[in-house]
Symmetry: D2
Subunit: 227 residues, 4 copies
């Protein structure tokens, strides 16, 4: 499993874009990841991941969900082994738009790790952050569900208390704070408060120029890295 370098970035287009558009965005992110020497995670529709993988060199390509099943019956389920064989390096689990039961989350994290997939698990409240940390994913996204897609970033208290919550359980988990991040200033704020990574969805997708926006965000992240 690849070791992620802090601070790192995520571009998470959810279901906003696909096909040619997502390749266009991935190629920009790929170029900037190289330019700024930043680890950049990139997700997309499952059907788009092979093209993203083949048309970029520097991105850490991840799936947006996965199932716990082993090869066998399971119509429409997402199989760890199938992701790995296409070069996918990790998976995001338990996003508020794709929540899992605790028991499925536990089983799916284990399946991912058996297959050397990096696990990124989302959590909302400090209690949920600690609970997820007990399942020992590699990375966590701490995000107040009610801020998703709003363009408002988490307040200082939320960022600090969720980082404390996760690290009180497992100091080795990398923490992303990404809710509402859309400017270089937001990047600085969350990294200063202790986040290991950040990034976004709507803050990037809805920007007038993807290249300018990613450049703004990733250069801010790189500048912080050198400090």
């Amino acid at each position: 499993m690849r070791k992620i370098q802090k601070p790192f970035f995520i571009v998470n287009p959810k279901s906003y874009i696909y096909g040619k558009d997502i390749i266009k965005l991935a190629v920009i992110a790929d170029k900037l990841a190289k330019k700024y020497q930043v680890d950049c995670i990139f997700t997309g529709q499952l059907i788009d991941l092979p093209s993203i993988k083949s048309q970029t060199q520097n991105l850490i390509v991840m799936a947006q969900t996965m199932d716990e099943l082993k090869p066998g019956r399971g119509m429409g389920h997402v199989l760890a082994e199938a992701l790995v064989e296409k070069g996918v390096e990790g998976v995001v689990l338990n996003h508020a738009e794709k929540p899992l039961t605790l028991s499925k989350l536990d089983a799916t994290i284990k399946r991912a790790h058996e297959n050397n997939l990096i696990t990124i698990v989302c959590a909302d409240t400090p209690e949920q952050c600690r609970a997820v940390a007990e399942l020992h994913p590699d990375i966590m996204i701490c995000e107040p569900t009610n801020l998703i897609g709003t363009g408002s970033i988490s307040n200082e208290n939320y960022v600090k208390s969720t980082i404390d919550a996760v690290h009180s359980v497992d100091k080795s988990i990398l923490i992303m704070q990404a809710a509402g991040v859309s400017t270089a200033d937001d990047i600085n704020k969350v990294l200063l408060l202790g986040a290991d990574g950040t990034g976004g969805t709507s803050g990037i997708i809805k920007a007038e120029s993807w290249e300018d926006k990613l450049n703004e965000l990733m250069s801010a992240l790189a500048k912080f890295k050198r400090m």
Copy 2:
């Protein structure tokens, strides 16, 4: 909120019995709870809880599930306030046959506690046990999902490692080990291994005589208590 005395017992008829039959079982459990001076939790179909409550004096009556919602919209949901008003004292959450997403589990535990309802939360693996413990329910049922209804009790290693898991997070959580418990010997085994409570479903319901079976189990528990 009532303080549960250890070791305690649970009679959890799930959906096996209802109506007159569940009242018959509740009355037996009530009599034995008094005789042996044992705290006895008793669950049932929601629609049967008022009768169970009114026809017994000593049982701690609980619901088998609940929802997170506050009074308002929500068709077919189970409201904390409605349980409380009928004298229900707690709720079992996240049973393998009624699993909750982590975020709903977190929210529902908080709703229950706001309403002074005792929370009993089920978990399977040691990792899940620790995760649930971070949400600080009052009681946990540690139960390997694949043993439910089989009549085989959890092995010593499972019982010890899940008790350790929960207590490493929160020593104040009471722990039930109930999978497959159906004899006085089973009761002794799990209590000796450190469980605070135990009880059962099919081991009781399928017995030839409910009274004899409950007497066997609850007297064993009471004897252990006096030691």
Copy 3:
């Protein structure tokens, strides 16, 4: 199974009220059902149904959801036989706030009918209305999901086309149009357009006086009945 007389009324408090409040509302509805000689369906939290049943004489008491299971394993599930034993006469299924998979809906309707429970099934689009009609529930609620709780009633085209849709499949299904109904005028509109029944939730619960509001609505229904 009781035969419902048209036009009929439903009071569906969802999770808005419970305990003493729902008894208060039920007693008012009961009195007016007798006064106006109108069949009145009344739902509530499961735990409140026995009290509602025992403190009223004229209401047709129904559950807000049910599960397909037969007596046996099933923690937190709702059992048909348990409803029947408490005098519940029917169940509402597939409400937008408690949607069922098609296969569970089919199985649950059959379980209800095996137990002589009246089935009321909700549907949204005309296509869904026809699909549900093929499962032959006794009554359907045709309701555009996006109008629930808004206080705006369905437009004439929706009411007519969904009634046509249902009756093109099964003329014996009674049809309720209830979205946003909150005045005597609304009652007249939907009955004139061909609905067999109507009623409401927020339009009643949020009224300043429950008695005045129910009187307004049920007297309008009764007047229409005599025409």
Copy 4:
């Protein structure tokens, strides 16, 4: 949207195989589809569909599930437009291992048709078959849930009554009968009883030689076609 020629065949590997293995199977099916001039639907893990598409010429490649959402928020959801842009021609919905609520099924069929995707919808009982037919998918798979993966084919009565059920609602829907089909004899039986298409999962995947098994099944289908 492509017009499917009857009788047609489906190879539905679910989550049994992926990567190089599924390409191997697809290439065999592709060759035999050409040899026997048979329309052959082929499904797979979403991440494998682009490779399947690029390495075959004759298969009708389909997804195993899809979501109703339009481009936008929706983490881990499957977007119609993303499927279309990669050459996917259709989608299987409501399989017993991926059941949908009636309202999501209705919405997802409409989303698929807006995007010119062929819809194949699964149903179990005759009542469910009629209900699904009212949503007017292009193709239906009638399959008794309890036979999936067993190697036992549906009995004559089930096959006839579900074909009648679907056609009583919409004669234009093509019907597949596939439960337990694993020999040339099974193919003949279901086609003689009126099925428009057939195929399988475990009957193919578990065969000693995929090529021999597919040859046996597809040649039987082709022979029936010429009669």
